[in-house]
Each structure stands twice: as C-alpha cells, then as structure tokens.
C-alpha cells in the first residue's frame, strides 16, 4: 500500500517545495532591501502582462521544454543527464551546418532537417558518455559534466577558426539565409486575427516543443521501449531478469535524451539569433534539471514547469531592467527549486507521509 495518495505525490509535494522556494526567494529579496510584493507584481506584469512579455516567456519556455524533456527521459532510465548544456551546444552546430550549407527552398523543409541535424548532433554528443556508462561503468554524471566543458571548447574552436566569416571579429557564424527564417508567433497568429507582439522571439519551434512533449509521453507510457526504459530505471537487476538489455536501453534512452537537448537549438539558434554565437545556450541545459525535477519527469509537468521558468526568466529580466535586483536572482530561485524539489525532497515528504498515515489510521 502506498503511504500517500497519488495526488499528494504529484501535486502536493511539488507545490509545498515550490512555496518553500518562493518564501526563501522573498527573504532574499527582502535581504537586499527590495520589496518582494512589488517585485512579483513587476515580474507578472513584465512577463505575462503583454503579448511582448508572453512572447519572451514562451520563447524561454520552448528552450526549457526541450532540455527538461531531455533530463526527464534520462531520469526514467535511472540516469542523470547533466550534459544537456553541451548537447544543446552541439545541437546548435548541427542547426548552423544544416542552415548554412544547404540552400533551402522553404522554411518548413529547413525546419524539419534542422531539427534532424540538431537531434543527431545532440545525440552524438550524448553517445560517448552513454556508451561509457553502459559498457565501461563510468559514471554518466561525471562524463556528461566533462563533455559540457569539451563542448564549450569545441564550439569555441569551430566558431573562432572555422565558421567565422572572413573579416569578422565576432566569434559567430554568418547570418542564416532569409529562406530559413522561422515564422514568429506574430506571423503565425496574424492571419487568424490575433495581434501578437512583433518583436518577441517566440516562434514556431514552440509547437515543435509541444510535439516533443507529446512524443515523450507516448514513448514512455505507450511503447514497449518506454516500458523497458522505466523498468531499467526502477530496478536494473529486475529489468535484466525480465530479459531487458541494459546496454541497449541505456544507449537508446541517452540518445533520445541528447537529441531532445540538441533540438533546443531549433528555437534559440534558428528561431531567435538566426546565426550561431558563442554561449548560445545561456545555461538552458542546466535549467532543464530544475524543470524536470519540478515537473516530476512527466511531459505535462515539464510543459508547465518550463512555462513557469520561462516566466521567471522574462520576469527576472524585467526586474533587472527596472529595479536594482540583478538577473542572478533567477539563478538563486532556480537553485532553491532544485534544492527543495530535488535534494530536500525527503524533508517535505517524510512529515507528509506521517500525516497521511495518521489520518488513515484515524479513519480505520
């Protein structure tokens, strides 16, 4: 018998963790001499008060959906993929190569192949840590951390020495051709009479990200492969006893995870910057960890958590613009969310379980 009803596990615990993180964040804001209530108002207004704000919120959320799903898929297999950042960087390289080397007739084709390129590059970057974990028993957390740094060095080399246009000092590729420009939400919504902000970066990749959420849900809960992944994550000896190859499952789960992280580049590289710059990922790979923890590794939870973090990011930018609170407040909030929903999960769970047990005993 479960100690707690399912709704408590899925809704109540994350909610309490979130409230704890929010309370501590409010204390931090008080500590630096600002008003938390005013700060929240400003964030809500800036991130959700206009289609411009929504455009940025959804743009960030799109990034976090991809990286959150990447962490979630690996987590279902019992693996902690901390390398989303590096995989997303390499995904950016894939997108840049696809967009620059091939003259695309239309953005739809370009989008499909850019997503493919991003996925392949991201998956390739996850493949070596996955192989080393599956075959040689090297800890995947350490190897994926190392691969983040190696990815940064590779991107630095490629942008400075290979892809930088002649005569340019900026370590970045040239601008992608106009034909691969992805329609923004403004262009998508204008025909149906919705006037969405022109200058916000949210674009059609949002739909790709939502599609990816659906894909992950189908994969994890509606396919034999998903069953194998979950079995491995629950118990490796159990999975092996059931005839599931752990090497094969680890490899596949990590390849899918890396591909999802890589596909983030469709949004930030192709949809927003329209060229590949240094540090294009801006830490989105790490936010994926918080998003997956918050969303309890469920695609719908990831979707909601990604929008929450998109809101925090855009709201944080507004705060930095209008108050003396630096953007790093968001990093603190992100840390607190990871801390409470991840590392200190038991701190919330243990007392709750006791309460639920006591209530149940009272009923019998």
């Amino acid at each position: 018998m479960d100690k707690m009803p399912k709704w408590a596990d899925v809704v109540l615990i994350p909610l309490i963790s979130l409230i704890l993180a929010a309370l501590l964040s409010a204390l931090v804001i008080l500590g630096i001499g600002e008003d938390p209530v005013a700060a929240v108002k400003l964030m809500v207004n800036g991130a959700l008060g206009s289609t411009y704000g929504w455009g940025y919120t959804l743009y960030y959320a799109t990034n976090f959906m991809f990286t959150g799903l990447a962490v979630a898929v690996a987590a279902h297999a019992g693996l902690f993929n901390i390398g989303g950042e590096g995989q997303a960087m390499l995904g950016g390289l894939g997108v840049a190569l696809v967009c620059l080397l091939i003259p695309w007739p239309h953005w739809t084709l370009a989008l499909a192949f850019a997503a493919l390129g991003a996925g392949i590059f991201g998956a390739a970057w996850a493949a070596i840590p996955a192989y080393l974990q599956a075959k040689r028993g090297s800890h995947i957390v350490i190897t994926t951390i190392m691969f983040n740094f190696i990815a940064a060095a590779v991107l630095n080399y490629v942008l400075v020495n290979v892809l930088r246009p002649e005569g340019s000092m900026d370590p970045a590729t040239e601008r992608f051709p106009q034909a691969v420009h992805l329609p923004s939400l403004h262009e998508l919504l204008a025909p149906i009479g919705i006037n969405f902000s022109k200058s916000a970066p949210a674009n059609v990749s949002l739909l790709v990200a939502m599609g990816a959420c659906l894909f992950v849900w189908l994969l994890i809960w509606r396919t034999p492969l998903g069953y194998e992944i979950r079995s491995l994550g629950k118990s490796e000896p159990g999975a092996r006893y059931a005839g599931i190859s752990s090497v094969r499952t680890v490899m596949i789960a990590m390849l899918i995870s890396g591909a999802l992280a890589g596909m983030m580049a469709v949004n930030n590289v192709m949809g927003e910057a329209e060229r590949l710059v240094l540090n294009a990922t801006e830490g989105a790979g790490f936010i994926g960890i918080a998003v997956a923890l918050m969303g309890r590794n469920h695609p719908f939870g990831v979707f909601l958590a990604a929008i929450l973090f998109g809101f925090l990011y855009q709201g944080g930018a507004e705060l930095a613009l209008w108050t003396s609170i630096p953007r790093e407040l968001i990093v603190v909030i992100q840390a607190l969310v990871i801390l409470f929903t991840g590392a200190l999960d038991n701190m919330v769970r243990m007392p709750l379980e006791k309460i639920f047990l006591a209530v149940r005993r009272g009923q019998n």
């Binding site: 901390i82 040689r136 190897t143 790093e328 990093v331 607190l336 801390l339 200190l344 038991n346």
Partner: protein, 321 residues
C-alpha cells in the same frame, strides 16, 4: 625555450595548481566517505566572494579567510543536511549548491558594493602577500638551483604552502589514523562501520565539513592571493577540474597533487601561449582548455588504468531496512 621561461611557467603552474589542489583534497575527503560532491565549484565561489568582501571592508585578509571558510562550511552543512540527514540525491544537491553560490554571490556583491557583481580591488592588507623563503635572495645567483629556489619555490603566498602541506597531512590522516580508517570504511561499507558501533552520520558530516574547510581556503586563495578581489563566476570551472583531477588521481592524495600540477601546467601553458606549434602542427588553445576533461574521460573509460570510486559513494545510508 629558455631556462627562465620554463621556471616562470612552472611558477605559474604552482600558483594555478593551488586552488585545484585544495578543492581536489576537499573532494577527496568527501568522496572517500561516500558523499559525492559536485558542489566544490559553488563552495569555492562562495568562499571567494566572502573572503574578498570581508577583506575589502576590514582590510584584514585573515578575517577574509575566516569569512570565506565560514561561508563554505555553511554550504557544506547544507550538502550534509540534504544528502546525509534527508538522504537526498547528492548530485542534485551539488548542482543546487553551485547555482546557489553563482546567484547569491552576485546578488550580495551588487547589494553591498554596487560594482556590477564584483568586490572593490584589494590592496596590501587585504591580500595574502608573497613569502620570501630564507636565503632566497642571496641564493638566486647560484646557477640552476638558485632560480629554482628563489623563483619557483619561494615567493608564494602562505596558502600555497598550506595547500602543498595538506597533501602529506591528508595522506597521514587517511592512512595512518583511526579517523582516516573509519572515514575510508564508511565510504566502502557503511553498514560494517555502523555494526562496529561507530556513527556513520557523524563520520560523514565530519568528512563533508573538512571538505567545506578546504574549499573555503581554495576560494579565499582565488580572490585574495591569486587575484585581488572577487569577480562574477571567478572559479571558472576550477571546481570541476578539481573533480576531474580527483578521478584522475583515483582518490589518492599524492596522485591528486600530481594530477593538479599537471592540470595547472596545462592552464599555465594555455595562459602563456595562444596556439602552440609542434613540428608543423598547430595545437589550438581550445585543445589545451579541453585536455583535462578529455584525459579524465579517458581515465574514466578505463582504457588507461580504471578509476573505481569508493563503493558506497552516492548511496545514502539507511540504518534499518
């Protein structure tokens, strides 16, 4: 290459290896006791900020060092509460600590000093000054050995000597004391330690706190000796290079020193030369940056002597099943 150039590169190797070595030994205590710590980076960063901030305000570098150590211990305590008391995921706790430090340091720095997330530059009293070893000046004329003694060995700050003395001290504590034996045992088989009537929780907290202490010194060294003040994200991945060195050294103190000196040398070379020409082949500077990580992955892969971590590493200890 000239002899003096080599001495200079080795000298900067020692300087750059020091924070790596302190953080690496910090990780060694924690991981030998079975607590994974990927939050070395965050603890160093927090200590770097508080040491520089307090040194800037008081003008006393020793108070700065104490403040740095205290802040690092606080984060170490948090890691202990999350991973020992509440048996949470040690890796996730480490990730959270890194972000907490990255955010809080800039937030507080901006609030206290309004200089865009940095502390004011430190002047003489606020920094650790180089120590000249006895006879360094008079011996500098001696060929070969003179420069080695006066340039390479002498003229570092006290924290450098502390770091290198911490290596034999760590070896002695781990392999020649009862505490060390128990600490290693708790990382391999905590149930056996528990059966012997020794507190697993106590030992692990002890190890995590020693880790916090050493990370604190490492961070203080960065901000008050290597550089003169705190700047945003000044650890720049050193905590992870230290982690790499720890694996490279297979969790052994003397080897840790070797690994840190090697990685320090790579940093020193990358700092001095941009691209290196080796018989017609140009090695780009990015390759030097990536080399510590690549070497660690190779070692982890077990192609060159397999790295096997302490057996109970990462597993929370549950007394009764």
């Amino acid at each position: 290459m000239e002899f003096l150039t080599i001495i200079q590169i080795l000298d900067s190797t020692v300087r750059l290896a020091t924070p790596l070595l302190l953080a690496c030994l910090a990780g060694l205590y924690s991981e030998r006791a079975g607590i994974f710590d990927i939050g070395l980076e965050g603890k160093m960063l927090m200590a770097a900020f508080f040491s520089a901030a307090v040194a800037a305000v008081t003008g006393n570098v020793w108070l700065g060092l104490l403040a740095g150590i205290a802040s690092s211990l606080l984060l170490a305590g948090l890691h202990g509460v999350a991973s020992i008391t509440f048996r949470g995921n040690q890796l996730i706790s480490g990730v959270a600590i890194n972000f907490l430090a990255a955010g809080m340091t800039v937030l507080i720095a901006q609030d206290w000093f309004q200089q865009g997330g940095r502390t004011p530059s430190l002047f003489s009293g606020g920094r650790f000054t180089p120590i000249t070893l006895p006879f360094a000046d008079s011996l500098s004329g001696v060929p070969v050995l003179g420069p080695v003694y006066s340039e390479l060995l002498s003229g570092h700050s006290v924290l450098v000597y502390i770091a290198f003395l911490a290596v034999p001290a760590t070896w002695w504590i781990l392999f020649r004391t009862r505490f060390g034996l128990r600490l290693r045992a708790v990382g391999e088989n905590p149930a056996a330690v528990d059966t012997a009537g020794v507190s697993v929780v106590g030992l692990r907290y002890g190890a995590v706190m020693i880790c916090g202490l050493l990370c604190g010194i490492a961070g203080a060294y960065l901000a008050t000796a290597l550089q003169a003040g705190f700047v945003k994200d000044m650890t720049a991945g050193r905590g992870f290079i230290a982690l790499a060195a720890l694996i490279f050294a297979k969790w052994r103190p003397w080897h840790a020193m070797g690994a840190c000196l090697l990685f320090g040398l790579l940093q020193a070379i990358a700092l001095r030369f941009q691209n290196i020409q080796l018989g017609g082949i140009v090695i780009p500077v990015q390759a030097m940056d990536a080399l510590p990580y690549v070497l660690t992955v190779v070692i982890l892969a077990g192609f060159v002597g397999k790295a096997i971590p302490p057996r109970a590493g990462g597993e929370p200890y549950v007394k009764e099943r």
